[in-house]
Amino acid sequence: MAFQLLTRTATFLATLAVASVLVFAFMTVLPGSPAQVVLGVSASEEAVAQMEADFGLDRPLPEQYWDWVSGLPSGDFGTSYVTGAEIGPQIVDRSLVTLWLVGAGMLVALVIALPLGTLAAVKHRRPSGTVLAGISQVGIAVPSFLAGIILISVFSVTLGWFPAGGWTTPASDPVAFLQGLVLPALALGLVQGSVLSRYVRSTVLNVQREDFIRTARSKGLRSWQAMVHHGLRNAAIPIVTVLGLQLSVLLVGAVVVERVFVIPGLGSLLIDGVRNRDLLLVQGVVMVLVLAILAINWLVDVLYTVLDPRLRATA
């Protein structure tokens, strides 16, 4: 098992390195030098050259790349060409906000999907099971930004229960923080919860029919005991795959939802960066998003080997 962990981690790091080259290369192949982009088309050649010299943009690309990438592990994303501010601290602050959002969204999705999916599976021969399956079908069809707008108009504008947007840090006011988190988390989680509940349903149905569940019952376990002691871990294997995919989807969804709810997360930072032509900032945010998605995949791989002994190398 240690061997698998090692190879998976090595693969993760190698992919991350390749991704960093790609992100860097993509930003440099964009037409015009970064200085030109920042200063605008009307800027004089001298001004552009001066800025390129100031920021070291006249150096060979490999050197620039190394300069950028070697700072990343310590959180040094460079200095913005536009604002002159350090990019690292901004990314860290914004990442925390997005992390809260994605985490809460995932929690909403799980809280919806695990009971709903299990119930739909257990009652799949009854009308209630069909109704439950139908509800999730509706949920899937609603995109998260639409869910966000509907939630705002109902729970914020009409009922006034939750703020329509904005962000309070948990440290400054925990209650306001939670209140502000509810609607965006629902907007993100409801849709993913619907998708997930269908996977949970089919997974639980499949596991229920497994021979080893019948064996467990033949040993004297009640149906639910067989499901808890033998079914859960087996069901977790396919569900973890979907959860990994969903976390990546949630991360992208967060970019949109942050927009709808005016939340200062990574998504807003990315959009600000694009609007301000702050290439180094955009490069940094994209790199963090790529890192997050690769990290999720790595985690899924690791969880597999923990959950499923068949994937472990036999000595």
């Binding site: 021969r125 497994e210 021979d211 080893f212 019948r214 064996t215 467990a216 019952r217 033949s218 040993k219 004297g220 376990l221 009640r222 149906s223 005991q225 002691h229 033998h230 871990r233 087996n234 294997i237 959950l307 499923d308 002994p309 068949r310 036999t314």
Partner: protein, 368 residues
């Protein structure tokens, strides 16, 4: 009708110390009466009745699709969703009927009073749980051992089913074991709590021929050491001939013939049984009285087993039977004693053996 077979060889009636279907109050471990299984309106198993005595080994044979597995699952209370059982299943140590009992009550009996080994060893064990834990669990769930004690007993049981390095095997996962080893793990689980009744549903069918004999031997020994009644399902008549004292023949969800193994295999009365015996290579064992060295092509039963619901009315074997006539259009009554007879209007004469030759066949019942 008189019963010359039992009259002639009374020894056959009381094999294994249990009377063949004697009066109630005898030492019966399992009494099944009018057991039926249906899927909605579709009947799959019809009014099956049989009894297993203490330490008795009874075979349940029939082609695939005859209802053998469903009968076993109905006895265990483990029918798949959508199927329901009616009739009566009783075990000697329990004062209530198992059919219709709550899942909690049945769960208390399963793995303790009644155990089962399934046909498919590759999928029957939990792939993500260590083998030793899966054996220990059957003792823990019934509070018969726990923790280290259960773990230690699990290793002992694995040793009893001749697992080499039982300590190591206990720590392994099912995918690290061969099919034969997994089936022995299943047997260890089934025997752990000294059950009254052991049901084995084709336990060797999925196994390599080289390990089948060992598995059979372990099943027979395991049951004998615990004085458990054994219901052994197979479609291999040679296996029944070596393992079982009595045999039940099933077709179309009905028991069409029952009796002591030697009588059934040497002088089958039901045309279906006769077809099975002729299609088997029992000759190789000398059970049907022929010299095993003379191998001839085996005549198969004409036609195939219809899917459930497509059996003819009256006698279910009517469309494949060489003796069928109008009299067979009503369900044939049982002919003979409850535990030794056949459900047929035109049964073969007991003197008319399945194959010509010496009817004094080798004694069935021993593996070794």
């Amino acid at each position: 009708m008189s019963d010359p077979v039992t009259a002639r060889t009374p020894a056959d009636v009381t094999v294994g110390g249990a009377a063949v279907d004697g009066a109630p109050g005898d030492d019966h471990r399992l009494v099944v009466e009018d057991l039926s299984v249906r899927a909605g309106r579709l009947g799959l198993v019809h009014d099956v009745s049989f009894r297993l005595g203490r330490g008795e080994r009874v075979g349940l044979i029939g082609e695939s699709g005859s209802g053998k597995s469903l009968t076993a699952l109905a006895v265990m209370g483990l029918l798949p969703e959508g199927l329901s059982a009616s009739g009566s299943v009783r075990v000697s140590s329990v004062d209530h009927d198992l059919v219709g009992a709550s899942d909690a009550r049945l769960a208390d009996l399963r793995g303790r009073v009644l155990s089962m080994v399934f046909q498919e060893p590759m999928t029957a064990l939990n792939p993500v749980m260590r083998v030793g834990d899966q054996v220990a669990e059957v003792m823990e769930v019934h509070d018969l051992a726990s923790g280290r004690d259960a773990r230690r007993r699990a290793v002992e049981l694995l040793a009893q089913v001749r697992m080499r390095d039982p300590d190591g095997v206990a720590r392994r996962y099912p995918h690290q074991l061969s099919g034969g080893q997994r089936q022995r793990v299943m047997l260890a689980i089934a025997l752990a709590n000294e059950p009254d009744v052991l049901v084995c549903d084709e336990p060797t069918t999925a196994l390599d021929v080289t390990v089948q004999a060992q598995m059979l031997d372990l099943v027979v020994r395991g049951a004998a050491e615990r004085d458990a009644a054994l219901l052994f399902i197979t479609h291999d008549l040679a296996v029944v001939a070596t393992v079982c004292e009595r045999v039940l023949v099933m077709y179309g969800g009905h028991i069409v013939e029952a009796g002591p193994t030697r009588r059934v295999f040497t002088a089958p009365r039901h045309p279906y049984t006769r077809g099975l015996v002729r299609a088997s290579d029992l000759g190789a064992l000398g059970v049907d009285g022929t010299d095993g060295s003379l191998r001839r092509p085996l005549p198969t039963i004409p036609g195939t087993v219809p899917p459930a619901g497509a059996f003819p009315s009256g006698c279910v074997f009517r469309n494949r039977c060489e003796r069928a006539d109008e009299a067979c259009e009503v369900e044939p009554p049982w002919d003979g004693l409850p535990g030794d007879g056949a459900a047929c209007v035109h049964p073969y004469d007991p003197e008319d053996t399945a194959a010509p030759g010496d009817t004094a066949a080798s004694e069935p019942g021993g593996v070794t």
